[in-house]
Symmetry: C2
Subunit: 261 residues, 2 copies
């Protein structure tokens, strides 16, 4: 199947029918994908405020109405309980299971948060001739916990998680400008070079994802990462939380280019 | 007194001492000013969600912690109940009075929202040779209610309010690019020319502020306006709400240039 050229609605229909169950990377080229956090209303104000105070790592694309499974803006009519290929259920910060459909877990007090994902700016980097190593090597992007504190909000607090891409030194200004143009999908890097400055002591062993090759003349460049809100939520141990499984994103109807303006 | 060259902290000290009681336009040149909405916690989630869904008219610069009178980010240590020259108290949507100090009205359930203001981009327009007519004419900017619906959130709903600046037709692209670079203070215009398209039937009589001269060869250009959230809040009639009085803004410690990045 040519998932790259399918429309997002077609992809989501195949997902809801159980015909796509794997990661969504490379599906519906040109369209944005999104991270998911679903939490009960009692935590929603604190979490929304956390995202407002930490827009670099938690850029919100849409917040659902309380109890409403259907999105209105980034994927109108999408049933958020069925149209992501794999979900995770956490209770009190512990992973309780993975599901292809969470409609049986849905409750009237749940609120969905859809958060931007750096897949969107990777297409522009590649188009401009900036290498994206984890795509070249066919693995997940390396991600690290840092010592950069997020601004706390109510019960939510914790440090930023970053993704790392090795960039040839002479292409770094271009990479900064291209990604800085897309603040809704994490924007410009948060740090360039010297991993220890942000508390990364073992660059070869990322906390999440896979390590990639760093060639001679390349510098590790770090971007705020959409795993930050999940990491913070897990630390804060809400009694109930559903997220997407890593790499298994929501394919939205929003074109990447429209996240620039 | 040379208010233009004073630091924001000095301006706010004079305000808290009752030595400045008038509008803040032109004070602390180069620093951003902000609109204020203070509401009880019971409305805060709906209002924060409203601002998230309507970032063009309601760009949030800071949200205080529940019950906390002191800001942390845009004016660290600022007592939000004393450091604005004039406040308005509304109950159930009705104006109950104006105050120079609202510390006697403060309650443990109040939350402060500070919202970006287009004063910030006007300095850049002038610097680039784009006229700002209400500054030339020494009056308030003309503002209009429109037929552009805001995305509703909980109890909050209503239409966008816009500000209008007449711009010589050949400078409009420059004005779009300059203001589009500053999304945290309303960003690019929402409409150019033809007022009736957005429901403005009497351009000569603005709903708020003062009319300004439109010269031959100039086109009315409309920007999302910080009066939108106040207008929406008044329509939605919360039982208690404090705002700044129009033109009497918070002078923040944030340089305008830092609202671009």
């Amino acid at each position: 199947m040519d998932y790259y050229h399918m429309k997002p609605q077609e992809i989501r229909k195949l997902i809801s029918e159980g015909k796509i169950t794997g990661p969504t990377a490379g599906m519906s080229g040109g369209y944005a994908q999104a991270n998911l956090v679903i939490i009960p209303k009692k935590y929603a104000y604190d979490f929304l405020l956390f995202t407002q105070r930490n827009p670099r790592s938690c850029p919100i694309l849409e917040v659902g109405d309380v109890g409403d499974r259907y999105l209105k803006t980034i994927a109108p009519g999408c049933d958020i309980a069925k149209e992501i290929p794999k979900y995770r259920l956490y209770e009190h910060g512990e992973l309780k299971g993975e599901f292809q459909d969470v409609s049986d877990l849905w409750r009237e007090d749940l609120v969905s948060f859809l958060i931007g994902c750096s897949f969107s700016f990777e297409a522009d980097l590649l188009e401009a001739g900036v290498p994206v190593r984890h795509i070249e090597e066919g693995c997940n992007v390396p991600m690290y916990k840092t010592n950069i504190p997020c601004a706390p909000a109510g019960v939510f607090h914790g440090n930023m998680v970053v993704s790392m891409r090795p960039i040839p030194y002479d292409l770094i200004p271009k990479a900064v400008l291209i990604t800085g143009d897309m603040p809704k999908v994490h924007g410009a890097p948060i740090h360039i070079g010297a991993p220890e400055v942000i508390g990364i002591t073992d660059l070869l062993h990322p906390d999440f994802g896979d390590m990639v090759t760093i060639h001679e003349g390349e510098v590790p460049v770090f971007w705020p990462c959409g795993v930050t809100p999940q990491n913070v939520i897990m630390d804060s141990k809400p009694d109930f939380c559903i997220t997407h499984a890593p790499g298994h994103m929501l394919v939205t109807d929003v074109k990447n280019i429209n996240l620039k303006y």
